[in-house]
Symmetry: C2
Subunit: 445 residues, 2 copies
């Protein structure tokens, strides 16, 4: 594995916006819109409130926006807090090959720095694409054993994305970009066992903050090992069993990982999504009342039941991993958004009654993106639907209109309708925006 | 490994200063004095200058002292910067069983918080002892493979010490102390390959800052896995090959690791120390001029030559790992302090001439704390000395007077003589000091 950090640094430093393929430019905008929605939807979560209560006395000058919270803080703190907001709803994007959530780490670090430096929309989109690419490629290099062994890969690999994106915005030369990568490597952290506690999102927040700091340090000539990825005691070999270092650089610039990002239409386990699709479509087509439903047969891949078979979740966190709750609430509410997983909906008698009528059936012939749902009504009639590709899966990516609808729903947690329209307009034309501060102001709340 | 974090948290929370053995109280004061000297000696190093240049625009209100730098900043930043200052000279204390440098991480986090909270001297000393204990015990638990596999143990285990010490000062209950330990676990980072670059000290700085932040978060009810140490995918099993979890709690309160800390008399590799002792003592006894020396036979354990056999170092970093430079400069200058390893001394012709007269001889019968030095003069006379226990080793710990002399030498880099006297006086009676801010002001520079 010769000089991975050097090769990566050179690629990032040499990259010019005009040479980036149009599809990448477009996906960078879509990733930004999806991310902003998630950050706005999560910005008043209890996790974010406690984080802010803990650190606000220690923060610096108002350089960057705390998304949706109506206040500004120093750029390093903004990176931390906004990354936690972005991930707290489990609604942000996913690089399915690695389960890295890249944008929730990279974009907060980058936006905070871009505000501080008054960078343009294209500078932001360009650095974002490069940062996402970096995080996902290092995720590819550590391989599945990294996550299986206990590393929360969005933190441990996300930090590189934040460092490279911030380094690009700072205009680091290849030597200093290499140091930024090395400082990120020695800052990499995050245990997967934190899933289910507030410290889960903190892994992403810490990665965003540390990545930004790594770039700032490198910009001042703060040195690092220059072989921090590939050395015998470098990041890849210390944190992975059998790393594939070549995955960091193979096809750089020719193949872009950002094109494989998946955006969730529902804030819950991804294997539940085809079931929700089916329930929402059946309800819309046939207009049945939840009270008339006597039985719901849900046939899915066995993995879905293994991961999300909980028939009686007790709270939001458990409900997000429950096929039964998701199917029930989709049929009762005709929706499966953030509101449908709040504790109040989890405890709602109408939802509980329907949850008990859900019958889960495992069928290995059904793919992980597929589901069959059959609803039996009190009058004996049945309605059935087979979903071939879940919304948001690679076979059926979310359209721009669906992403905008998702943004609208989430942003409503923090913004007034006129502010939402304004933010959407800026996002649509972010590549012609002279100062990304304009976008930040629009989503300040 | 049942409930390690819970047991550790309970011990720390229940500990009362009046029940701490007198020897521990005393060692906590000695560790403080040694640490403050190192931080003052290192506070103007290029590493610290570049760190500060990178982050100063992002820092918060002046809550805590930047040691020796004549300025204050927010407590989290002070923890970071002061920890880097503390370790940059490689002169801070060492837990020899693990090579953890505990005080350089724990004390900066603690002093910054203690200033912010106006804590007393005993509160500081008590929390320091508990933090050092925590860092060293977790270091014992991960075992030697942790370091050998590439983790910079002062960072990866030091973070727990900072979290527990800060948590004690904050008065966390056992539940929240457990969370602080868990957040520290998920923030643990630091690669050993950074030794030789500026990012080495950053590992300790990051640990100090992250540990303090972990305690602040836990104090606000920010939750974590409660089995972050011992769970199947917890810190110990993810970052160590065959951890001995029991080492975290075995004999807690009965046996104290702080009693095994070693304080360096010279800012260089520890295997060089007996050689310096011999050279300084021979020079003092016989008053020979360096120009009269024709040959110096240095007989040491083979490990010393393996680690520090470089006959012609080119700079400070290499000189700190050179037996030949250390012997030569000790004979020329009659000292082996920070000044003797600066690039200027490394390039000095008088030192270079003598370096070339040093003959290294490996002898497995000689212990790692021992050395035999024979000096041959131009007139044919020889002087020989055998050092049984190097100064600072467990067989010959530094006396209080030697620690004070070390402090005086280092503090002179940042403080005027009257300030040094004042700081020493406060340190000597730190257990009766009403506000540790008094000490911080004395070493502000």
């Amino acid at each position: 594995m010769p000089e991975l950090a050097t090769q990566l640094a050179r690629f990032v430093c040499k990259s010019e916006w005009r040479d980036v393929p149009a599809a990448i430019k477009n996906e960078s905008k879509r990733a930004t819109l999806n991310w902003l929605g998630c950050a706005l939807g999560g910005c008043r979560d209890e996790t974010v409130m406690r984080l802010w209560a803990a650190i606000q006395d220690f923060t610096g000058p108002p350089q960057a926006t705390l998304l949706g919270r109506g206040t500004n803080t120093d750029a390093l703190t903004a990176a931390l807090v906004n990354a936690v907001s972005s991930n707290v709803l489990d609604f942000d994007d996913t690089h399915l090959a690695t389960v890295v959530h890249p944008t929730a780490v990279v974009a907060p670090a980058l936006l905070a720095l871009a505000e501080h430096r008054h960078s343009s929309g294209t500078e932001f989109l360009h650095a974002l694409a490069l940062g996402i690419e970096t995080a996902c490629r290092i995720g590819n290099a550590v391989g599945p054993a990294h996550y299986e062994n206990g590393w929360h890969i969005s933190g441990s690999c996300g930090v590189f994305g934040a460092a490279v994106a911030a380094g690009k915005l700072l205009g680091l030369n290849a030597q200093r970009m290499n140091w930024a990568i090395g400082i990120a490597a020695t800052s990499a952290s995050g245990l997967r066992l934190q899933l289910g506690s507030m410290a889960k999102c903190h892994n992403l927040g810490n990665a965003a903050r540390s990545g930004l700091q790594a770039a700032l340090l490198a910009a001042q000539g703060f040195t690092s090992s220059e072989r921090a990825l590939e050395a015998p005691r470098g990041f890849l070999r210390v944190l992975a069993d059998a790393p594939d270092g070549g995955a960091v650089t193979r096809g750089l610039g020719a193949r872009w990982e950002i094109l494989t990002l998946a955006y969730k239409p529902y804030p819950c386990g991804v294997v539940i999504h085809p079931v929700i699709d089916a329930c929402l479509d059946l309800r819309a087509q046939h207009g049945m009342a939840a009270a008339d439903v006597t039985r719901v047969d849900v046939t899915v891949n066995p993995l879905a039941i293994k991961l999300c078979g909980n028939p009686a979740p007790r709270n939001e966190l458990e409900a997000k991993l429950s096929l039964a709750h998701s199917a029930a609430v989709a049929l009762v509410d005709g929706a499966a958004g953030v509101a449908q997983y709040r504790d109040a909906r989890v405890a709602d008698p109408a939802v509980i009654v329907l949850r008990e009528k859900i019958v889960l059936i495992a069928d290995p012939a059904i793919g992980k993106e597929q589901a069959r749902v059959r609803i039996t009504l009190a009058n004996g009639r049945t309605h059935e639907l087979f979903v071939e590709h879940a919304r948001g899966s690679s076979g059926r990516p979310l359209s721009d209109a669906e992403l905008e609808a998702k943004f609208r729903g989430l942003a409503a947690e923090a913004l007034a309708p006129a502010q939402i329209d304004r933010a959407l307009n800026i996002c649509r034309s972010l590549d012609t925006c002279a100062e990304v501060c304009e976008l930040a102001r629009a989503v300040a709340g």
